[in-house]
């Protein structure tokens, strides 16, 4: 008897919980932001949060989307594929219909499977792995170029230094390995001598065996496909034990954390990343507003996240409703004037003219960077 009663109570509770969530979905429109908000790559997640919060503020200031208030929900994937799928499922259960993220390609790949099945519109401001948009997904977009566009660009930057012996190192992640392979392929085809192509294990403390290998192979330029914590350690340990070659990296290393970690050893690092738009005169007011909020708009993914959110908002307004099919149609048709330039999406969800979206920057030990011509 007792058991029966408790079952009934449970059922009632579950029903009311369902009702509760259904009501809250109707109250306002939820936009999920997914990325690494904890762990070694949390600084990237912070950039996403800073960008999307500003976007939400602007959207709500002009009356929300289709008259409904925008609510931002955060989903921490810690840049781990397993956690990415679990937060993606959670987002779907929470009734989130739009996601800005994920950040790491290795998270975006598995998470987008779920969003695609559930019709959640996803715009990643950062994932560059080519495979992401090669799977014929309809609900998936990105505001950055692809690594088969960044790779050739990075290779040409490296080649312009006329190095004699190049090492290409990666961290075995979907992003790092993909980018490194692209760089190596393009260096090979340009006749640059790549003598070392190797992987390291991320999250380790000690990379001195790699440094010894770089020295013994007389490497004068090293490209690293991966993220900044490893790059910082490699540079620091490299300079400490007398490695004098030039360091190169991709968008995963191009942020001020790399200087924080490596100290003076970071001086002269050259990294490719999506073009910085904080110097664009059209963004002056926005950059100032970010600054007033204590955010550095020159951080790699602040403006792209803001731009992705605003473009999504524009598409929702254009569709006039919250139907995913209508919104992706709108995203594929219009030209979007955003904080990171004009964006047009092709059928795959890639931006048109992606090969021109990358630029190379030289980092100084004080944490500032300047464009490499």
């Amino acid at each position: 008897m007792k058991i029966k009663l408790s079952k009934k109570v449970l059922g009632l509770a579950a029903a009311s919980a369902l009702l509760g969530s259904a009501i809250s979905v109707q109250a306002d429109v939820k936009i999920g932001v997914a990325g690494p908000f904890s762990g070694p790559l949390a600084q990237f997640g912070q950039m996403q949060i800073d960008g999307i919060k500003m976007a939400a503020k602007h959207l709500n200031a002009k009356g929300g989307l289709n008259g409904e208030t925008v609510e931002i929900v955060q989903y921490d994937d810690a840049c781990e594929p397993k956690q990415a799928t679990s937060v993606a499922n959670q987002a779907v259960n929470d009734g989130v219909m739009f996601v800005i993220g994920h950040l790491c390609s290795s998270s975006t790949l598995p998470a987008s499977d779920i969003y695609e099945d559930e019709g959640v519109v996803m715009i990643t401001p950062a994932s560059t792995n080519p495979e992401i948009t090669e799977r014929g997904y309809e609900f998936l977009f990105r505001t950055v170029g692809r690594d088969d566009q960044q790779g050739p660009f990075a290779a040409s930057v490296i080649a312009s230094f006329n190095p004699k012996r190049v090492a290409v190192i990666h961290d075995k992640s979907a992003y790092g390995e993909g980018l490194a392979a692209q760089v190596k392929m393009n260096l090979d085809s340009q006749g640059v001598n790549v003598v070392l192509f190797e992987a390291i294990t991320p999250n380790e403390a000690d990379y001195s065996p790699l440094i010894t290998k770089l020295k013994s192979n007389k490497i004068d330029a090293m490209f690293f496909g991966g993220y900044d914590p490893e790059m910082a350690k490699i540079m620091r340990q490299g300079r400490d034990s007398g490695f004098k070659g030039q360091f190169f990296g991709g968008d995963g290393v191009s942020n001020s954390k790399v200087v924080e970690g490596a100290g003076p050893a970071a001086d002269g690092l050259i990294a490719t990343q999506p073009k910085a738009f904080d110097g664009d005169p059209r963004n002056a007011a926005l950059v100032a507003e970010f600054k007033a909020a204590g955010v550095n708009a020159s951080d790699t993914f602040v403006l792209p996240t803001y731009a992705a959110t605003m473009a999504l908002a524009e598409a929702i307004e254009a569709a006039g409703n919250f139907d995913g099919e209508d919104i992706i149609k709108a995203l594929r048709t219009g030209t979007y004037e955003t904080a990171v330039g004009n964006i047009e999406w092709d059928a795959k969800g890639d931006i048109k003219g992606g090969e021109n979206t990358f630029a190379a920057y030289r980092w100084k030990k004080d944490g500032s960077f300047s464009l490499v011509e």
């Binding site: 762990g39 620091r236 970690g261």
Partner: protein, 308 residues
């Protein structure tokens, strides 16, 4: 040939540095095992916390205007040793003593719980992000080979070896020459008999935890400042490696832990240097399996005699 010798030297320097840290941490595992027969899985977290304490102290001292790197390092180490020792003592008092004497599994699970607790304690207190620090001591001695390869030994590596050797000598003297050391050896041989002879074995066990924590603190501060980076997750993998070193050297034996640490560090460096960094864990754990196949009690451990 001469080129190869220089290269080998460079790999050896790398291996000795990591090996020193493994050895220091392995001592904590081996001493606790030797005395109460449990594996203190929270030991890696003590290492992690001590690195954090070191960073905080260095940050604080820098704010006070102290900029001599040796004073900073020494100050950080001193404070870190003291605070970590308090942690080591409290961990034993709070988590292990109440369950001592019961089934071994209980202590093991308590230790894993303690490890998770400490990791989350730092996660909440210090955020989940890595904290970086500028190098304290930079620069190196280097030797140029005729072929142009530069074998180099950084000052910080030298500091790590020097402090490690000092700590090892200190520990050996403590265990062999002092009264307390004798008491701890006696406790590890036969706890009941020792306490019958009027020695407070509870105190001896506490001291063991304190020494283990102090050694981990030395490793934490040294490696933290050497790599310039701490994170709440750094304790787990380091603890695992140090535990491997302790088993390799013969768990329960202090010289074994020292040797095991150095051997493991060197194996990793050589494997990464001559094969590929991807295979270094494969090679070092392969070595562990080999050693355990032929000497199940480790390199310097004593085979356990069945007591009748």
């Amino acid at each position: 040939m001469i080129e190869q010798a220089y290269l080998f030297l460079d790999h050896m320097f790398n291996g000795l540095t990591v090996g020193s840290a493994y050895a220091l941490i392995a001592i904590g595992y081996t001493m606790v095992y030797g005395i109460i027969g449990m594996i203190n899985f929270a030991h890696g977290e003590v290492y992690m916390m001590s690195a954090y304490i070191g960073f905080l102290v260095i940050g604080g001292m820098t704010m006070l205007g102290i900029d001599s790197s040796l004073i900073l390092l020494a100050g950080a180490m001193l404070v870190s040793i003291i605070i970590s020792s308090v942690y080591g003592f409290s961990i034993e008092r709070v988590a292990y003593r109440p369950v001592r004497g019961q089934n071994r599994l209980i202590a093991l699970i308590t230790a894993i719980g303690m490890s998770i607790f400490l990791q989350n304690y730092i996660l909440l207190g210090q955020s989940s992000r890595n904290i970086s620090m500028q190098p304290l001591i930079s620069g190196s001695w280097s030797m140029m080979s005729p072929g142009g390869f530069e074998a180099s030994l950084s000052y910080m590596q030298a500091v790590i070896w020097f402090v490690t050797v000092l700590a090892m000598i200190g520990l050996t003297l403590f265990v062999t020459k002092t009264k307390l050391g004798r008491a701890s050896r006696a406790t590890s041989e036969d706890k009941v008999m020792t306490s019958l002879l009027g020695i407070n074995t509870n105190n001896v066990i506490s001291i063991t935890f304190v020494i283990g924590a102090a050694m981990a603190a030395i490793a934490g501060v040294l490696l933290g400042t050497y790599y310039g980076d701490v994170s709440p997750y750094m304790g787990f993998i380091m603890g695992l490696k140090a535990f491997t070193a302790a088993v390799l050297g013969g768990i329960g034996s202090i010289p074994g832990a020292m040797l095991g640490g150095i051997v493991l560090g060197m194996t990793e460096a050589m494997a990464a240097g001559y094969f590929s960094a991807e295979y270094k864990d494969v090679v070092s754990f392969g070595l562990l399996i080999l050693v355990l196949l032929f000497r199940p009690y480790g390199l310097l451990g004593k085979p356990e005699v069945e007591k009748v």
